[in-house]
């Protein structure tokens, strides 16, 4: 976890834990795909999803839970739905890692630009 050490040694250019990106999301992009929330509020409320589960993968979680309810006790038939949901969560995590790295690089760039004046 070199980031923890860097956060101590270079606190000005290392984002902290669970950083909220501070730069313009379009900085350096000509166009950028927006994330779309597919599950609606009513669906999530009626399925009693916890606040933590109401992320951009909620529709896949709903599909997986629905499949389980339908196929029970033969829940192995929902393997694809489960895999789909977990892959979505994994990709969400990778996106968070990318956002952290983007924030870190932009902070370094900002520092470099400030030094140049």
């Amino acid at each position: 976890m070199g980031n923890a050490l860097n956060h101590y040694l270079k606190p000005d250019v290392t984002p902290g834990p669970d950083v909220v990106p501070s730069f313009d999301p379009m900085l350096g992009f000509a166009s950028r795909k927006e994330r779309v929330m597919i599950a609606t509020e009513e669906e999530m409320v009626s399925a009693k999803l916890t606040p933590k589960e109401r992320d951009y993968c909620a529709h896949k979680l709903l599909a997986y839970r629905g499949c389980r309810a339908e196929k029970f006790p033969f829940v192995y038939q929902c393997a694809h739905e489960k895999h789909d949901y977990l892959t979505c969560e994994y990709e969400d995590y990778v996106l968070r890692m990318k956002e952290f790295e983007r924030e870190r690089r932009l902070l370094e760039r900002q520092k470099r630009l400030d030094k140049q004046g």
Binding site: H7, A30, R32, E34, R96
Partner: protein, 175 residues
């Protein structure tokens, strides 16, 4: 059946060697036994001598607990000494595991003085100030580390999880 007969014959053999053994086993099977209860407080000189003899003590050594309602009848007052831990390890005791001789009177609080319990301690190896210094050093070291590392957390290099909300736009890294 043969195993039962065999064990019965073993009991017979054992009781032939030591007739007291059988009585002892039977007595030990009970959780409580009147034979283990001390007798009433000795009032006359004759009773005192009889009680001293009963506990294998010399009459001048025998000293019962005061008969004030909280005493122990004729049970003799023998102190715990320095505790079993401080008894000589190399003396050939009759019961080396509890360091006790046959019929040696034991304290009423014997359970308090057994080897895994209280004992009057020896002189400690180091001085009190040294122990205090060690304590302060370890505790102070731990506290210093704790406060120094308070704002230096280990964390995973990830940004905050994105949740859809009104007026908030999130983007992927695709074009």
């Amino acid at each position: 059946m043969s195993a039962l007969m065999k064990s019965l014959s073993l009991v017979k053999k054992l009781s032939a060697v030591n007739p007291a053994l059988q009585a002892h086993i039977v007595r030990n099977l009970a959780g409580w036994n009147k034979d283990y209860k001390p007798g009433p407080y000795p009032k006359t000189e004759k009773e005192r001598e009889a009680a001293a003899k009963k506990y294998y003590l010399l009459p001048e050594e025998y000293k019962p607990y005061a008969d004030d309602g909280l005493g122990y009848g004729d049970y003799p007052k023998v102190g715990g000494g320095l505790g079993v831990e401080h008894k000589d390890n190399y003396y050939p005791y009759d019961y080396p595991e509890i360091k006790r001789n046959f019929n040696e009177p034991i304290s009423v609080d014997h359970d308090l003085y057994s080897e895994d319990r209280y004992s009057q301690p020896d002189y400690p190896r180091y001085s009190k100030s040294y122990y205090m210094l060690c304590f302060a050093g370890v505790m102070g070291g731990c506290l210093a580390l704790y406060y120094w590392l308070e704002d230096k957390k280990m964390y995973r290099p990830v940004a905050a999880k994105q949740y859809p909300a009104d007026g908030v736009k999130h983007y992927t890294f695709e074009r």
